[in-house]
Structures are given as structure tokens and as C-alpha cells.
């Protein structure tokens, strides 16, 4: 027992320390959590015969990480804003579609060029397509851009991506995990998806009544219990726990419980998500990342370019001037939690390149893009000033 407690203590303590360091340097915590996971994990570097290995990928870490995935996607569903979907629908659809075609398209092309199968290429496309809501939103608030017009296209594109990724996750995980005939498993998954969609669409009033409980403790247990159980059902039906969690979040977003959930479930989400990022680091072997280095470099260069271009277009579509559109462009570069969720699903499928190469690629890619994205946002004034000077 003391041993288990020690492991948990080490895991949380290293997260606390590197989180503090990341804040000190104005960086997102996500790359910091991954890096520390690599450094203290089973593949820790050995310096002069001394290994830094402190942690294994213990069972409780796997469980916490799984809860982290479920909670991350639940919150995305919860924060899914139908208002935003309906407001400025034309701009929203155009900006979102260009973003999808440009980034997922280039991801697919790169992966096929590197000789991956279509399914593996679909994973790579998803990993490079989706921007990190967590990093982008946090930096928007930190820099105060959230109060400016550039917040509109940025948040619009993020919401569009969330919608695409829910459908995408359902299909890809059905194809990847379904045994036997892919059409049957997609059929089962789609049927479950219809059920989930009905839950999201009509479950609001029921959730409103059932979860109206005065005690915060009962409320939290009720919501968490439903969420984790439904996630398990989702996994069994082959649509992945993440998709089930997303749709349950959407059902709750129609109720008055939203703010209470934000207040009460954010702390457990932050804990479990942090452990999720740590566990990604723990299972990463730098050697494998190095072997995927060519793919990482090509993807970083090309998808930074496509994201800048598609997001700049989004800014212009929303009627912003050049300076603000450049900000929109740099704001959407960061990739993060979803790319890693996809990597985790790929690992759980485990066939072919999905087992090692693609997760390793995702880790290298997210490390580069999360740091690049935050840094570009912080120094965007330099870029916009340069542009203004050359004009």
C-alpha cells in the first residue's frame, strides 16, 4: 500500500514541479507534462550509469489517463456552443471547411507519401488537423485577445473542429477497433451514434431533473458515474469512450447545470488530464520518436503553413483586417490534447504502424506544435509589426 501511495505521490509531485516551470516560462503545461513523463518513465535516459527512471506506467496511471480522456471530451461536448454554430453560419462554415480540407488533406497526403495504409493515414490526418482548444483558449485569455474581434473566428474554427472530430472519431475508431467486417462495425457504431445523438438532443430535460441535487458531492458523483459508465458502453460498442463522453457533454450543455459542472468537475478533469499527458510521456520511447523524425519534421513544416493559411483565411472571412487575421493565423497553430487522444486510440488498436510509429509521431509532433503555437502567439506583435513595415 505504501508503495502504491509513493508512486502516486511521485507522479503528482513531478507534474506539480514541471507545471510550475512551464508557467514561469509562459508555456503551455501540456508539453511539460509529456517531457517529464519521457524523462522519468521506463525509457528514461541513462546518464553515467544513473537512470532517471522513477515511474512505470502503473495500472492506476492508465486508469487516471483513461478518465482524463473521458473528461476532456465531456467538457468539449459541454462547451459545444450551439449559439456559436448558428451565429454567422456562413462565415463559420466557410472558415471551418477550408480549415478541414487544407489541414486534414495535407496530413493525409504526407502519410500516404510516407507509405502508410489508408487507415493509418486517416489517423495522421486527424492528428495534424485539430488545433488544441486547451492551449489556444488559455493563451487567448492570457494575452487578452479574447476581448478582441479575433476571438470570434478562432473560437468558431475550434467549435467546427470539435464537431468534425466527434464524427471522425466515431468512424475511425469503429473501423480500427471493429472485429471482422468493417461495414458491420461501422453500422453498429453509427447505430450507437444515433442513440448518442438522441441522448444529446433530447436528454437535456431529463438530465435537468435527474441531476438537480442540492449537494455538490452527490451531483459530482452522479455526473461522473453516468459519464464513466457511458464511456465504457461506448468502448464496448466500438465507438470509443471519447465519442460517448462528447455526446453526453452535449446533452448537459442544454441544461442549467453547465456552470455547476464547470465549477465542480474542472478540478478532477485537470488532475486526470495531467496524468493522461504524463502517461503519454511514460509510454514514449525517444528512440521511436527519432525514427519518426523525418515524418515529424515534414508534418511540422507543412501543417504549420497550411494552418497559418487556413486560419488567416478564416480571419479575412470574418471581415478582420490583416493584422487581426495574422493573429487568428498564429492562434490556431498549437495542436495538443486531441492529437494525443487520437494517439492513445491508435495505441489501443495496436495494429501495424498504429501501435508504435504513429503514437511516437504524435508525441513528437505535439511537442513541437504546442511550443511553436504558444511562442508564435506571444511574439505575434513582432510578426505583425514586420508586416506593417513592409507594406
Amino acid at each position: 500500500m505504501a508503495d502504491l501511495l509513493l508512486q502516486a505521490g511521485i507522479a503528482i509531485a513531478v507534474l506539480a514541479v514541471v507545471g510550475l516551470l512551464a508557467h514561469r516560462f509562459g508555456q503551455s503545461v501540456i508539453p511539460a507534462y509529456i517531457v517529464v513523463g519521457i524523462l522519468v518513465g521506463p525509457n528514461a535516459p541513462v546518464v553515467q550509469g544513473v537512470s532517471f527512471n522513477l515511474l512505470e506506467r502503473y495500472e492506476f496511471i492508465t486508469l487516471f489517463a483513461e478518465l482524463g480522456i473521458v473528461l476532456l471530451l465531456f467538457f468539449i461536448g459541454l462547451e459545444f456552443s450551439v449559439d456559436r454554430l448558428l451565429a454567422r453560419r456562413g462565415e463559420f462554415t466557410r472558415a471551418g471547411t477550408v480549415d478541414f480540407v487544407a489541414n486534414a488533406g495535407v496530413g493525409l497526403a504526407i502519410a500516404l507519401a510516407f507509405g502508410f495504409t489508408p487507415l493509418e493515414a486517416a489517423f495522421v490526418a486527424g492528428i495534424v488537423y485539430i488545433s488544441s482548444s486547451a492551449i489556444v483558449t488559455k493563451t487567448l485569455v492570457d494575452l487578452g485577445w479574447v476581448a478582441d474581434p479575433e476571438a470570434e473566428p478562432v473560437l468558431g474554427v475550434l467549435v467546427f473542429e470539435d464537431l468534425v472530430i466527434a464524427v471522425y472519431l466515431a468512424i475511425v475508431s469503429a473501423v480500427a477497433t471493429g472485429a471482422g467486417d468493417p461495414f458491420t462495425s461501422v453500422g453498429i457504431a453509427l447505430a450507437f451514434l444515433v442513440v448518442l445523438f438522441a441522448v444529446a438532443r433530447f436528454g437535456g430535460p431529463v438530465a435537468e431533473r435527474v441531476y438537480a441535487h442540492d449537494s455538490d458531492e452527490q451531483f459530482m458523483l452522479g455526473v461522473l458515474g453516468t459519464l464513466v459508465l457511458l464511456g465504457a458502453v461506448g468502448l464496448a460498442a466500438g465507438v470509443s469512450e471519447a465519442v460517448a463522453a462528447f455526446f453526453l457533454g452535449m446533452a448537459f450543455s442544454e441544461t442549467t447545470h453547465v456552470e455547476r459542472i464547470e465549477r465542480i468537475l474542472s478540478p478532477p478533469r485537470d488532475l486526470f488530464a495531467a496524468v493522461f499527458f504524463l502517461s503519454i510521456g511514460l509510454q514514449t520511447d525517444l528512440g521511436t520518436v527519432r525514427s519518426a523524425l523525418a515524418l515529424v519534421v515534414v508534418a511540422v513544416v507543412l501543417t504549420t503553413a497550411t494552418k497559418l493559411a487556413s486560419a488567416y483565411y478564416a480571419g479575412r472571412t470574418y471581415g478582420l483586417d490583416q493584422r487581426r487575421s495574422v493573429r487568428v493565423a498564429v492562434a490556431l497553430v498549437a495542436r495538443g490534447e486531441f492529437s494525443l487522444v487520437l494517439a492513445a486510440i491508435a495505441t489501443s488498436v495496436g495494429t501495424g504502424a498504429l501501435g508504435e510509429e504513429i503514437p511516437a509521431f504524435a508525441v513528437g509532433y505535439v511537442l513541437a506544435m504546442s511550443i511553436l503555437g504558444t511562442t508564435l502567439m506571444r511574439y505575434s506583435d513582432v510578426i505583425t509589426d514586420r508586416l506593417a513595415a513592409t507594406n
Partner: protein
């Protein structure tokens, strides 16, 4: 005056208030109760964050802004239904010439022009007091009259 309200997924809600001349006040309400205040001087400018409040500070500020905390009298907008007449009050001090006599004895209306419309004695209110109501030290006389008449009344009641 238009207030724009938008959702900020994962953060909370954003409110924008037009201040005139193209400038806007932006309030960001976080789900955890924190409130950030920004001002954007013109449509092309960048928003400057000028305050970051906790929920409690924000409520206190809101009460002050809403006038619940302290309400200044806005003379320009105050409407008086009585023309020049206003309602004021004066406390009858110890040894006042009117203390101990009736309202008729005090001859207040003829002497000052102000009419006593109520007498507040401790917790009791004597509304529309008649001529033989006895006045005591400590009574608060609520009176109707012009500003000049009130000045007269005050010096009459408090005269040694």
C-alpha cells in the same frame, strides 16, 4: 446602448458594452467567478485589461456602479412634483422655544412659511399632526416648504 453577449467555450461569457466614439468596455465572466475588465479605445485598437476581479470584488463593484452602495443625488434628473417646495426635516433640540408647547402655540407656519406635515417621535410617526399636538425635545419635524422657508424653520426651532 447595445450590449453584446457571446459564449467563450471553456472560459465563460463575454459582454461588450458600447461606450460611444467607437470604444467598448469588455467584461469577461469566467465560470469560476473571476471577472476580467477590458477597454478597447477604438474598433482597430487592442483591448487593454485594466482590472481582474474575484467574484466578491466584482459584486461589490457592481453594487457601487448600480447605486445600491451609495446613491448620489442627481440634481439634473431629479424631478420634484411640488414646484419649488421640498420636504425637509429638523430635530427639536433641548431647550428649543417650541418644545413643550402645542403646534398651534409654536406659530410655526405663520413665522416661517413651512408646514409641519409629520412628527417623528422615536419609532412613532404622527402623520398630519393637528394644532394641539404637543411638541417635545427630540421630535423630528417633517416639513414642506421652499428652501428659504426651511432655513427659517431651522433657525426658529433651534433658536436658544
Amino acid at each position: 446602448m447595445t450590449v453584446y453577449e457571446t459564449d467563450v467555450p471553456g472560459v465563460g461569457r463575454k459582454f461588450e458594452l458600447e461606450l460611444g466614439g467607437g470604444s467598448r468596455l469588455v467584461v469577461l465572466l469566467h465560470h469560476d467567478g473571476r471577472r476580467e475588465l477590458f477597454v478597447r479605445p477604438d474598433p482597430d485598437g487592442d483591448s487593454e485589461r485594466f482590472a481582474d476581479l474575484t467574484g466578491e470584488q466584482a459584486r461589490k463593484l457592481g453594487a457601487i456602479l448600480g447605486g445600491a452602495y451609495f446613491q448620489p443625488v442627481e440634481f439634473s434628473s431629479a424631478s420634484v412634483p411640488l414646484g419649488d417646495a421640498i420636504i425637509e426635516w429638523v430635530t427639536v433640540p433641548e431647550g428649543s422655544p417650541v418644545a413643550g408647547g402645542t403646534l398651534a402655540d409654536s406659530n410655526l407656519r405663520d413665522a416661517t412659511g413651512a408646514s409641519v406635515i409629520a412628527v417623528q417621535r422615536g419609532p412613532d410617526t404622527i402623520a398630519n399632526p393637528d394644532a394641539d399636538t404637543t411638541l417635545e425635545a427630540g421630535d423630528v419635524l417633517v416639513a414642506l416648504g421652499t428652501r428659504d422657508e426651511h432655513a427659517e424653520l431651522e433657525s426658529f426651532v433651534t433658536a436658544a
